[in-house]
């Protein structure tokens, strides 16, 4: 004889939502009432970003650059970049055809590293015909975890990167080897932040990457005062071949990242739609709702 339990007899207490205009009305109004303020909040925040009052972030932007191409994305050796010595000298096959050059392993191997952005940007403030260079900080632009965990220089005796990278060769397109990217030891080799930033491949063909930070000096003045500025670009990076464009972006960021009005507008729109639907449903409910809740069967 079967057990007479709620589960086996399918008598479990259940919440049986009946979706009718009457029952869901509040939900729509609530969504509307929540979304619209959120949207306004986001919109305002996003629009306020242009005031260069806090730290200013300097980006370079590339368009039509498919950093997300499948084979491009794969063309790297993470263990090499993590400082694994065997991978340093024997990079992954994924790096082909940028794995070796003249029988020497390339460090860092792969297409991503090979195509690293190498223009230099310098920003000057023109003040009465005098050009004062603006201090561009090149550290702190990469993810902390990347810089300190994921990317590691090869280990060995001493800190001499030249020695540590012994036996490898530079990527084909690079003018100089990886251990000469920067003069500072903690920003050189694989842990060079420009390199790390580049290696985090962009999701979309039009993207920006953080280039430098401009720190706010004091609380009295904005970081970048109104005035004339000049940007000097050392042009190394060809984009003509893929019909690309380069950009330089200066921006502050808020709690919700860079300036993008989309999210705010979307929230406001969706909130309004919900509110509107709520009203429509209210009308429907008044016109048709009764016959169902009272379970009257129309003849």
């Amino acid at each position: 004889k079967p057990d007479n339990t709620a589960f086996k007899q399918q008598r479990l207490p259940a919440w049986q939502p009946i979706l009718t205009a009457g029952t869901v009305l509040p939900a729509f109004f609530v969504i509307g009432l929540i979304f619209i303020p959120i949207g306004i909040g986001i919109f305002v925040t996003s629009n306020n970003i242009r005031e260069y009052e806090s730290n200013v972030f300097m980006y370079y932007g590339l368009s039509n650059f498919y950093q997300n191409h499948r084979r491009y994305v794969k063309s790297r050796d993470d263990s090499q970049l993590n400082g694994d010595n065997s991978s340093l000298l024997n990079p992954s096959k994924e790096c082909e055809p940028y794995r070796t050059n003249e029988d020497k392993p390339i460090a860092p191997c792969g297409a991503i590293a090979n195509s690293m952005f190498n223009d230099t940007l310098e920003l000057y403030r023109i003040d009465n015909d005098t050009r004062t260079p603006i201090t561009l900080i090149k550290k702190g632009i990469a993810w902390w975890t990347d810089k300190n965990v994921k990317f590691r220089n090869p280990t060995g005796d001493g800190n001499n990167l030249t020695a540590l990278f012994q036996g490898t060769t530079k990527p084909v397109n690079w003018p100089k080897p990886v251990y000469m990217l920067d003069s500072e030891l903690d920003n050189n080799g694989f842990i060079n932040e420009d390199f790390i930033v580049w290696m985090r491949t962009a999701a979309l063909p039009t993207f920006r990457k953080l280039y430098r930070l401009i720190e706010r000096k004091n609380n009295l003045q904005p970081t970048l005062q109104a005035g004339k500025y000049s940007l000097e670009i050392t042009y190394n990076y060809p984009v003509y071949s893929f019909d690309g464009r380069k950009r330089m972006i200066l921006s502050t960021i808020s709690w919700m990242g860079g300036k993008n009005p989309f999210l705010g507008i979307a929230y406001i729109t969706v909130g309004s739609i919900c509110f509107f639907l709520g009203v429509v449903l209210l009308i429907i409910h008044h016109k048709y709702g009764n016959r169902n809740t009272s379970a009257d069967i129309p003849n």
Binding site: P2, W15, Y72, V73, D77, D84, F207, N299
Partner: protein
Amino acid sequence: MADPIRWARYRWQRLISTEGREVSSSSNSSSKRYQSSKTASKHRIVIPCLGHFKEEYEKVSKLYMNNKIRTTKYTLLNFIPRNLFEQFHRVANLYFLFLVVLNWVPLVEAFQKEITMLPLVVVLTIIAVKDGLEDYSKYKLDKQINNLLTKVYSRKEKKYIDECWKNVSVGDFIRLSRNEIIPADMVLLYSSDLDGICYIETASLDGETNLKQRQVVRGYSEQVSEIDPEKFSSRIECESPNNDLSRFRGFVEHSNKDRVGLSKENLLLRGCTVRNTEAVVGIVVYAGHETKAMLNNSGPHYKRSKLERKVNSDILWCVLLLILMCLTGAVGHGIWLSRYSEIPFFNIPGPDGKLIPPALAGFNMFWTMIILLQVLIPISLYVSIEIVKLGQIYLIQNDIDFYHEKTDSTIQCRSLNIAEDLGQIQYIFSDKTGTLTENKMVFRRCSIAGQEYCHEENAKRLESYQEMDSEDEDSADAQYASLNHMSKRRGHNCRAVNESLKKKSLDQLSGSYPVAGRENSASDVPHAGHVAFSSRIETDVVPDTQLLEKFSQISSHSYQQSEDAVSKLSLETTYIIDFFLALAICNTVVVSVPNQPRQKMRHSSLGRMPIKSLEEIRQMFQRLSVRRLSSSPLPSIKESSSESPNSFVSKLSIFKMKLASPALDGAAQRAAEPHNPDSPENPQLSEELDMVNVAAGSEHHSAGSSVKGSSPLSKLCYEAESPDEAALVHAARAYKCVLQSRTPDQVTVDFTGLGSLTFQLLHILPFDSVRKRMSVVVRHPVSNKVVVYTKGADSVMMDLLGTASEGTKNSEMEQKKIKERTQKHLDDYARRGLRTLCIAKKVMSNEEYTEWLNHHFLAETSIDNREELLLESAIRLETKLTLLGATGIEDRLQDGVPDTIQALRKAGIKIWMLTGDKRETAVNIAYACKLLEPDDKIFTLKSQSRDVCALVMNKILEGIQKNTSAKKTKSQKLGNVSASPTTQAPAFSAGLVIDGKTLEHVLHDSLQNIFLDLTEKCRAVVCCQATPLQKSVLVRLVRNKLKAMTLAIGDGANDVSMIQVADTGVGILGQEGMQAVMASDFAISQFRHLRKLLLVHGHWCYTRLTNMVLYFFYKNVAYVNLLFWYQFFCGFSGTSMTDYWILILFNLLFTSVPPIVYGVLDKDVSAEILMQIPQLYVMSQKSVAYLPSTFWITLLDAFYQSLVCFFVPYFTYYGSDIDIFSFGNPINTAALFIILLHLLIECKSVTWIHAVVIVGSILFYFVFTLAFGATCKTHNPPSNPYWIMERHMTDPVFYLVCLLTTCVALLPRYLLRVLQGTLFPSPVMRAKHLDKLIPEEQREAIKRWKDDCVVNCRMEFQVTSGSSSSATGAVSEEESIASVLPTSKTPLQFCSRGGLVEEVSLSDIQDESGNTNSLSSERTVFLNLSKETNSDSYGSSNCCAKVSQRTSEEGKSAISLAGLNTEQV
């Protein structure tokens, strides 16, 4: 069954055997075919494995298989390759294998090579483990069976030694003791039983618990001592191994070339158990896999549900979609590449440093895309469907409503994969006997020599039983019970009797079943009662007073023994005696005494009686039984002394009769007193008998023993093959004509009036469906003549009657009169829904008998066309019979059958009744169970030829058309659009009755369509006198031609073929063994359970699975499209923005459990409402939940949701510095929320299980991604989701994106559901509202619903199926029908020419005899009665009064009924 697995193994055997039976018995032509295909060379020769045959033995028998069995599919070595081979027979698995292989091609590789293998490996492993476990259990069982011990004769040791089963080989001698299992098929050579009989129990083979007799090969049975294998010098030749359990043909050839025929009676089958026989010896003829049991052991059949077929077709659409998407990718990639004149440096050249041309790259990309988007074809769908079905089956099996107390049984689901088909049934084909009825055959009335005995007391007894029954069921049928009470009080003035009976039956019921003392066997079989067909209701028959009085005359007259008294013995009395002898003898009932299991009742004390006045006695009996039947000369007295001991005994018994009779005189008179609820074993009676016996003082030992029988007698158990037989034997017993023992060559009947008679049993010609009768040939103990007793269906029996050649004119006349009157009674019985049988006899002279015997012997010994010859031989014997009388056996309707049928019909299911019974019986049962309604118009098809048949059907169709068109104009006048005739269910109700002969014409190709047209117009079809084959042909016809979902329900072997043919086969755990159950997909114990099974579980299973499947499609399409949209932004390069581990696990883990829970537990409407509003069934029946449009809407929604899910993050992060996998993370997370919440929207009921699973899935996702993000630095190139999730969790934008995406994505579906619920609520929706109401309101609402929802529902579905109608239109139509029908007095009138059917409206029929009124009035009475009590006093005077009253009423209302067809030949 002690061993369920073994049980399952044999479950197919029986069903094949019945097919075989059909072939051999149903038609001559098929057996001829068989014969021609079989050549003599294929015979098997079995030679004993002993010294003097050694060489020949080596040559022949060694070639045969030994007894070792292996049922496993795999061995340890071949498991992996073979299992993989089996699994890759599935197309889906092949597809995924293809993907795996594809991923190893470097040019197109999309993921890491190993990762695509994961889903496939998981699925393969799960199934391999399952298969492995199954096979292992088989292996263990095989091993166990192979190592069972048995006694095999060893040549070396010259004795029987223990040997394992597996070492037994053909030609071995095996000795078995009681209760041992037979290890191989063997021919029985010796039995310790004196008669050379061995009883076997075949429960493990076919589930039948009654014992079967097997006989020692002729010629060996005479041996007193045990057979010595060393001296066995014969060869056995028999047919090659085959799977026909009911047939065995061969012969034993002795060394002197004498041949003795072998039949299945000589064969002991492997797997059966020896019972009641101390020891048997046999020689093995088939061993191991060649035994009949094993050959029957074919694999399980696989039914595929309709839904599954639909799913498969939709998967093809998905494949198409996939190809389309991949083509888009390929073309897009080609175009994207060709845009660049130079090599852009993000495009990596091939290994040779050259760039691949765009066209080739595009081609490669096609395959990459297939790998990337593979999830579109849901591999997990198949696994999920399997799991969901298991869950659904589990819940069905645990439904307490299917539990039947009396049989302690619940539903059995034998087929695991068609539960959802239960929700789509359009046609039900039901057997009658045992399915709609209880198959408790109760002797109701009889007619002997043209005189009817209506057994009123018996009817009252039954009534009281029924009351007990309905009180017993504490089901909701309180109304029913109260009706019973009312009718009882109103109807009868003998309440006292009722009360006492009630008390008695209460006691009996509380004592449940009579406990039969069968130690081993009874416990083996779970469902069948302990002793077949022996519930109290069947065994206790209260004799008819009138008849009993006549019985008493028999005894007294015979006591007087004077000349004039003998002359007084009327013809009628001889008829009565013969009638009851026939009832007691003409059967295959096995008699046993429960306390001493299966010990045969025997009279061992022979020869102690003085043989005096033997002639006298015989003379007396002669006159008594034979005189006026046939005026054959008296047998010479001289012959008698040279008879065998058997006949000698019988002569003695006549003497006993003489002694016993004075006592009876008084006793019988007492019994004849009115209202005496005398059970056949009245203790008082027997006491008195004993007393008289003692007083008689003579050598009364044997007499005492026979009469004392009344106390052991009361415990006699009859085990019959069919309940009818049991009913008849019990009826005979009620008249003190007690079947006492039965051995293969003698039957002993204790005829209280005459004493104990022992008949020498010469032949039994068993029942078959061609002859429709059975006969026994006995030598009468007194007359010493050969007498044939035959019982059978009246349709065949009436044609076989004829007077003996020497018959006088007078007796011929009398015979004719009896025949006429009996026929009238038979018709009357049939109209009352009783099962009728004719009883006849024939006296043969010795010459006739010898002549026949010679022929018969030839037939018996022939191997090849034995069946045919036996049939011919039987037909030759059964001629010129003398009609003795007829019996009417009632088979009561099961509880709740009318309600169930009404509910099922409201659910839009058409119900056909297919039965082998007579037309009148069938029609009446149809009325009683509300299959036909009183105001239905009934068309009867009964034609001799095909052309006539076609004509009639056309006429009927025309008539219907006219009717409907008339109505249509009427409804159009009302200004409504009428429904198109094709979709409109026949609003006016008609029933079709067709019989077996006509069915044959109708099933011909040329008439099939018109027949189906006709049946579609009728709401019920009753097919009577249908053979099993016709039943299955009908089911197949409807299934194939109308493309309808069919369900066949039955309980007996004759329903097996129909059950197998139907989409869903339902077996009833009934009284007739397990064959139907074993062939079925679902086995229930009561017909009424069908209601919940279909209306509730069918609806649920279908809705659940449908919703789950649709959800799966949605889920996969929605998720895969996210990847697809990304291709537009990565140059169609096949990049995935989600880490592939998460990608794979998303389907495998994060979103797999909720849909399964949804598929198992979702409940759109509560069971109560579904039961009360059967109309809701139409929803699942018409696949409303899974229309083609639903599929496409689902896909559309999936596209929309994926678009939202992709583009909201896209625009949010557009132009930012976000990297690929950080971009994928919010998309993926939002997708998870969307997919899970979508499920919540679709869920009709959310229990804590749903909640736990959904919340658990979300938590699991976050835990996994967080853990993955925290640990995976470099081990998972290129994505390395290191710290991505962690960063996002601290980023408010992530939350905002997810929230917005989820809301926007789900908004349309939510809104759609809301609007649907508000503006166009489906019936299910409305029913759901009812759930929320308080009970009283609910009741009110349901009532209202019942009144008008039929119309609404019908209308709605017409709308969905494309035709338009309006509710009011339908209403008016129905009304108009109601008004049209009764007014047309003679709706259809066909001229009756050349066997045409004449449709006569009832008012035209006036039966000339007052007793049997016109059919429909009878019917109404029957209906009324059945409403009240189901069984009432028929034929009594007050009943007659009722009938005439009804007649006048009926005449006015003029409902046509074609029950009476006047055939003009």
